[in-house]
């Protein structure tokens, strides 16, 4: 049984919070999706596909990118090693290290929705989809951070992954290749789009079950990968 104590998770969260307050690079990165959302809002479009675009952007930038940078910095500065050599368990470190990003991403997503003036359909299901997306992108960010040696490297390692995962839907318009179109249909961003469009049209659960299950599968797979990569990082 793996040990899990909220006290230790909270300790890492508070440490990250104090650190964030002094980290202008991260604060600026978090503000970036909000600026984008405000710009979309100014356009005054009523098209949900257009209005939800800032949400994807917020998940990718605030969720994955910021998380990758924060995890990579712990690696670069050898502080992750310190946590690994403390009594904190893998679960406590991974959850603790994701907690601040999750909270700030949620704030940025809510801010983006408000600024883009998107009217949320069926709040409970919408919230569920946002939470799944949140967990998924923060976990992807963790993996990217663990794979990069430095904060700078996260931009290089992360860019292709984030383009595919965050904006993969756009590839559909660019190709006739059946295989690619099929593959893109399974990407998390597509699942989120399908859920949101379905909710916008029908506001019912049944049409979105498949998409939610696929998202859930993404979450589970990314979790397993994150724990695996983390385990490798304990050793030189």
């Amino acid at each position: 049984m793996m040990q899990f104590s909220i006290r230790r998770v909270n300790a890492i969260f508070r440490k990250d919070w104090k650190d964030l307050m002094k980290n202008s690079y991260i604060i600026f990165t978090l503000a970036f999706p909000l600026i984008f959302a405000a710009w979309i809002g100014r356009m005054g479009s009523e098209d949900p596909a257009f209005q939800t675009f800032p949400i994807h952007f917020a998940l990718v930038i605030a969720g994955a990118f910021v998380q990758a940078a924060m995890v990579a910095e712990e690696k670069e500065k050898n502080t992750l090693r310190g946590l690994m050599l403390s009594p904190a368990s893998t679960a406590e470190i991974l959850v603790g290290k994701s907690a601040l990003t999750a909270v700030s991403t949620l704030v940025v997503v809510i801010g983006s929705i408000l600024l883009a003036e998107y009217k949320v359909p069926s709040p409970p299901l919408f919230i569920l989809s946002i939470l799944l997306g949140l967990v998924l992108f923060v976990t992807i960010g963790t993996i990217l951070g663990l794979l990069s040696r430095t904060v700078m490297e996260t931009t290089i390692v992360g860019m292709p992954v984030l383009v595919i995962f965050g904006m993969g839907s756009m590839f559909k318009a660019m190709t006739d290749n059946e295989m690619i179109i099929k593959a893109v249909d399974y990407l998390p961003s597509e699942q989120l789009n399908m859920i949101w469009m379905e909710l916008d049209r029908e506001m019912n659960i049944s049409g979105t079950i498949d998409n939610i299950l696929i998202l859930l599968a993404w979450v589970v797979v990314s979790f397993v990968i994150a724990v695996f990569v983390y385990g490798k990082r304990r050793f030189d």
Partner: protein, 281 residues
């Protein structure tokens, strides 16, 4: 006597580069032992293996009577303190906040960080962000973090390499106190004085092998010279054997009022190391 560390024919290679050929040793509970050796002799590698940061290539080791794999378990990490050259600090946070995190992780009162800051002589800088500290001050913060929970076993990889003599002495006193309270200490150093001052036993590591492992005193007598050096008035220096004939000679010098000084020629650990390996530390 209970062994805190047991190592049997431990070996480590990186590709075809051999870092540790085959080392075996035990560390008793409450001991302070020192690994001495030139750069690249495998000191850090040994610590990393014993703290489960590196897999050994061959051989066996146990800490607290458990095999190394068990060490990843949080209940073991609680009993260990580690200072290595890659122990990082949160640069934007203050000294106190860095330690407070670890107090929370260890589940101990934050008062411990104030206590430990006194041991490393940083009690007046606790609200300074780490990025504003000098190298030696950072090393002291890392040391404070390694001992804040009063571990049963403490690994120190060159703990005072960046420190001035005053701070080194202060920290040695603190570590000795910790040792008296029951902490077993495993340290590596280039500094012979540190080894003599701190260690119950020292191991000489050279080319991935332990050349010698004994108390500093025993090593000194075993490698001690059979002569003494006598300086006479007028700066003449003579070497006198440590036997009856030598005694008479010295007696004569003293009686004639010629004697200025006698040196015992006791070797330092550094001299022994050179004799043993033909290399300087």
């Amino acid at each position: 006597m209970e062994h805190v560390i047991e190592v049997r024919e431990l070996a480590k290679s990186f590709g075809n580069k051999v870092a540790l050929k085959s080392i075996s040793f035990d560390v008793k509970k409450g001991e302070t032992i020192g690994f001495l050796g030139p750069s690249g002799s495998g000191k850090t590698t040994t610590i990393k293996i014993l703290t489960a940061q590196l897999h050994p290539t061959a051989g066996e080791a146990s800490v607290f009577g458990e095999p190394l794999e068990k060490l990843k378990d949080p209940s073991y990490m609680r009993r260990i303190g580690i200072l290595t050259d890659n122990s990082g600090l949160y640069e934007r946070l203050t000294i106190f906040d860095n330690l407070a995190l670890y107090c929370d992780l260890y589940g101990i009162s934050k008062k411990s960080s104030d206590e430990v800051l006194e041991v490393v002589n940083l009690q007046h800088d606790k609200n300074t962000p780490v990025q504003k500290l000098s190298k030696g001050m950072k090393q002291r913060v890392t040391l404070a973090r390694a001992i804040v929970h009063k571990p049963d076993l403490l690994f120190l990889d060159e703990p005072t390499s960046a420190l001035d003599p005053v701070n080194t002495k202060h920290i040695h006193e603190g570590l000795k106190q910790l040792n008296r309270e029951g902490t077993t200490i495993f340290l590596t150093t280039h500094d012979m004085h540190e080894a003599e001052e701190m260690c119950d036993r020292v191991a000489f590591l050279h080319n991935g092998e332990i050349k010698l492992f004994d108390t500093p005193q025993k090593l000194r007598t075993r490698y001690g010279s059979s002569s003494v050096t006598v300086t006479l008035k007028g700066d003449q220096v003579v070497t006198v054997p440590k036997d009856e004939q030598g005694a008479e000679e010295i007696y004569r010098y003293m009686k004639d009022g010629q004697l200025a000084a006698i040196h015992s020629n006791e070797p330092t650990l550094g001299d022994i190391f050179v004799q043993l390996t033909g290399r300087n530390l």
